[in-house]
Amino acid sequence: MYKNFLKIITFLSILVSPFLFTSAYAKTKVGFVYLTTPGDHGWTYAHELGKQMVKKEFGNDVDISIVENVPEGPDATRVIRELAKQGNQIIFTTSFGYMEPTLKVAKEFPNVKFEHMTGYKRTKNVATGNIRFYEGRYVQGVVAGLMTKTNKIGYIGAYPISEVIMGINAFAQGLRSVNKKATISVIWANTWYDPVKEADAAKVHIAEGADILAQHTDSPAMLQIAEKNGALGFGQSTDMGAFAPKAQLFASVNNWGPYYIKKIKQLKDGKWNTGDGPDHWAGNTWGGLSTNMLTLSNFSNMPTDVAKKAQAAHDGIKSGKLKIFAGPLKTNDGKEIIGAGKTLDDGALWGMNYYLEGVTGKVPK
């Protein structure tokens, strides 16, 4: 009996081993660097969902390692280098502040492919991918303009960089397309993720009379404060409706999965590239509503006619008929940016260091 058992085991392992060998051989090692944990239910969670799509697509053909809670700066360099040393063939670094660390490590490991999300600097083995977050913010502006009673919108920004500023301006364009009286006031949190600060900023906005809140920071804290105080707001990166069922109007949802899958496929086929685009402002992949890299969650807590207008704005942007930054455009202190009939190009978006009409205050220097 025992002998037979051994025989069977030996037989089975001989039978299976070629498969084991081949699957191990074809396995692509993929690394991810996360800014916080997927538990933030915002930015990093959206990347986690993308990673899960990768897992679903490739199954055992990929071997994924993740490092969570990596601060932007020298620690990031160490972590990315470690991932490269461990033999990961492609490494996704998922925050803007990983730009220099990624470039630095990429130089040391020319055979490893690096994918820096939301950055703009590329080299032979560093590609960049980004989402047109601002398209969702235009739709948010439309809804805010129709829903506000006090005509005051509170906006919480992370850092005054062009990425965030173009979002504020897109929001203002949407807002002013339906409501010329409403204004946006901006509070900078000077952090991407700090629920305490985000909550403080939200409380101040509400105390100052804002009844609609929008955010370009990562936690659901703002929406929870809105929920508590009877205000309304928009979710960021993922559907945050569970945190604020009575306050969330809708959320702009980041959909990274298809991009990750595309790039890993390229690598497997030996066709990985950084794209041919000019090496400046935008990522070589900068997808929005039209490519489904950005989607909107269900419209809620609003009347159907508002939802219809929001849907129309969404459809317009998706089909390309609606141009968000179409002229005439003026800054909030009266300078003309472009005249009627013209539209800002992508390069101009990445150079934004001014607020458009509808936003109060100045961009901090």
Binding site: T36, T37, P38, G39, D40, H41, Y45, N69, G154, S185, V186, I187, W188, N190, Y193, D194, P195, V196, K197, E198, A199, D200, A201, K203, V204, H205, I206, A207, E208, S219, P220, A221, Q224, I225, K228, F243, T360, G361, K362, P364
Partner: protein, 302 residues
Amino acid sequence: MENLLITILLTSIPILLAGLGELVTEKSGVLNLGVEGMMLCGAVAALGSVLIFGNPYIGILFGAVAGILISTVFSFFTITLMTNQVATGLGLTIFATALTGLIGEPFVGKTAASLPKLEIIFLSDIPYLGKILFSNDILVYFAIFLIFFIHFGFQNTKIGIIIRAVGDNHDSAHSIGYSVKLVRWISTSFGGMCAGMGGAYIPLALTPHWSEGMTAGKGWIALALVVFASWMPIRLLIGALIFGGITILQFVAQARGWDVPSQFLNMLPYLATILALALISFKLRHNNYAPACLGKHFLGNK
């Protein structure tokens, strides 16, 4: 305006509670620099227990107990083993920051129930003041009660006077028969309890979340506040409101578009602390409010 004042009051509660506890600890002659760490322990224990039991009042209890437990570690080292208080306090904060990060990992992204508001009948109907002062959660009332309790305790009760005696001259206190070490253990535990509750207040009332290091320096501000208030509970309230006010002011300035760099406003609380320290040491050189035995070891063990 009303809402703004409430926000300021609530923001100052954690530093007020932690500051009051540290005041009592320091009055007994122990300098515990671990306030930040004890607050973090309180915060994570409060949030965790609320997630498990679903009741925010249990969160206060767990926060307080966690503060006491971590402070006994400090007491054991500094009072019993007589290690250096400054180094041990700093070590406590560093240790607690990492420990709470580990314990808090499963709580990230979960939401806990907040403390309910308790309106005091009649008083809460007073225009303006009623909403600001008499329509808050239990810890706000407790903090205000604590100010007067400690003030009165130090002036008029035997226990208060014993604590002061131990802090001002431990040899004399010892010679007339008081147990210096016991008094210091109890005072340090009281400080730990208050810091734990102060930390608990952050997830229970301010933002219903856990994030690593969420006290964000409030423990250090509480420490500075004690000196700022020259060891007087009522001044501590004023100081806490100023610090809370400035924290909120930097957001208000931005929301209203004032042309002041937010970094400058960020700096103000600390600038105020330095100024206060300079003033106190200049004016009161011969009449120092600091407990005379603050930070000194009590060596007698007969």
